[in-house]
């Protein structure tokens, strides 16, 4: 006899006449849930291991730097805020590559997206909210070490206005970077539904392309063909980040920094690319939802 444990109890069906949230509140709930999922909160214990290990790896060097500065009384931080983020880019890229599938591949792979889209949230709001969750998640990932460094700098009595200026520049750059990386990895994860291949795809987009661009920039710099290197910098989120950081004197040194006109192009390309990725996400969700 099957399903006999599922006896239907006749205790009467109750109506729900209570308040119902509007779209904005529902989106906010989705946003918070997504953000928590990227750190494994609200899911199984095993899914917390990787994000927290990566976060620890990204933060530990900052803690060491703070320790060194405070104890030896250095006059300035050995690494600026923007440069620190640049140095740990490998870990940040891994985090984005590993956690984007949690938000973007799962619902498409198991087709539970249909259940979401049959509810008041539209596919556009859903996709944008998910993208915001990942962006915030990445920002948090970058800010833990950044603000740790800042606290350490204040503790060591370094010049406040200097540190604040460096911090502000870094924060603006990190906002731009987080939005772009979230868009790129999100789109890749929504297209390649098996988590493993989405990760490889994101790694290629973030790490391999970055490496290639850096090599090209080194070579063009050595060959006095800087223009090509600057143009090549448009091809990778990290090279956009470090290029802009160099142009804005945020403490990062690149082979071929962009001039002010190029810097503007960098910003525009980043924004446009992010927008295109988000639009792609909306289209993907809508398409799979209607199947």
């Amino acid at each position: 006899m099957s399903e006999r444990s599922g006896v239907i109890h006749d205790l009467g069906y109750r109506r729900y006449d209570g308040p119902r949230d509007g779209t904005a509140t529902i989106a906010r709930t989705l946003y918070v849930t997504g953000l928590r999922h990227t750190y494994g909160l609200g899911r199984s214990g095993k899914s917390k291991i990787l994000p927290f290990i990566l976060l620890a790896m990204a933060t530990l060097p900052a803690a060491i730097v703070v320790g060194v500065v405070v104890l030896t009384g250095l006059g300035s931080l050995p690494v600026t805020y923007a440069d620190y983020t640049n140095q740990v880019q490998l870990v940040i890229s891994l985090f984005a590559a590993a956690q984007a599938p949690v938000l973007f591949s799962r619902d498409l792979r198991h087709r539970s997206i249909v259940l979401y889209l049959a509810r008041p949230l539209s596919s556009s709001v859903f996709a944008v909210t998910r993208w915001l969750s990942l962006t915030t998640s990445l920002l948090f990932f970058m800010w833990v070490p950044t603000f740790l460094l800042f606290a350490g700098a204040l503790l060591a009595g370094l010049d406040k206005s200097d540190q604040l200026e460096g911090l502000l520049k870094a924060v603006v750059l990190q906002l731009l970077l987080a939005a772009l990386v979230a868009g790129v990895t999100g789109l890749i994860s929504s297209v390649s539904l098996r988590r493993g291949f989405a990760v490889v795809g994101s790694v290629v987009a973030l790490i391999v392309v970055s490496g290639v661009v850096t090599s090209v920039q080194a070579i063009t710099n050595a060959q006095d063909a800087d223009g090509i290197g600057v143009a090549a910098g448009l091809l990778s989120p990290w090279s956009i980040f470090s290029g802009l950081a160099d142009a804005w004197h945020a403490g990062v040194v690149t082979f071929t920094p962009p001039g002010s006109a190029w810097a503007l192009a960098y910003v525009l390309v980043a924004v446009v690319l992010t927008a295109l990725c988000v639009l792609g996400l909306v289209a993907r969700f809508r398409k799979v939802g209607s199947r």
Partner: protein, 326 residues
Amino acid sequence: MAGVTGELTGLLPTNQSVITTAGLTKHYGSVHALTDLTVDVGPGVTGLVGANGAGKSTLIKILLGLLEPTSGSASVLGHDIEHASQEIRRLVGYMPEHDCLPPDVSASDFVVHMARMSGLGAAPARERAADVLRHVGLDEERYRPMGGYSTGMKQRAKLAQALVHDPHLVFLDEPTNGLDPAARTDMLRLVQRIGSDFGIAVLVTSHLLGELEQVSNHVIVLDGGRLLRSSATTDFLRRTGNLLVEVVGTETERDRLGEALAQRGLTCRPRGSMVAVDPPPPELAEAGAVHDVIRDVTAELGLGLMRLEPDHGHLEDVFLEGGAHV
């Protein structure tokens, strides 16, 4: 809301239309999923019948705003699908035909999450989720990840998420798919309860004609994207006045019986393993006369009489008749 019939302790007056479509069409290039569909669905349980590919799921997706129609219009619960789609999605629940449950979440967590996605607050979501899961019959299983569920449990979980936000109308797409006979009966009974006791309007699809006969008040039949028929179930199932006779043996025995009955003045024809006897001529029209004739004939021929019952209509007949009567 007023308007209570004997059965429906519901939200809607009995004469209010729940779903109305007018010339709804959906073409994918040369594939015509729906053509010029005009129906009216009232409260209670409405069955949507058709072979696979007849357009049932397409219709539901269009009503939910997941697909855009090529032409035509429709309204659900008084809201137009083109302009007020979001309002519709606040008021309806959807149980898709395909697999749509993430395997690493428990039914309890998932249904709570879906309740919140429909606008319920955290506490009401938990309460209603627990309630609804009890109603659909998921007990301790609800705390296990859904990846390990049997088909029956998965269907129940899907149904739970469709009901948790107290919708006015639910779309159930093939709810008995993949269920064994006992679970199928359970599910059908549950669907009936949703329509009658819970007071929620139901649009349930199936390609199994027999099920819908049992469960729905009204049946809409689709064939190749077109409306074949739309009427109350009782219309379909009315007694036709014929009698069905079945005897032990093969077609030979059946044919012997048929010929013998014909010689007695009864018009009859074979139907499957049985003989269908048309309503008798005036001479034999008294109550019981035809039955006596049949009994006597069978005894004379030495055949074992297995079945003698009044014939009633079947949904299958609609397909066999073809054509569109509305």
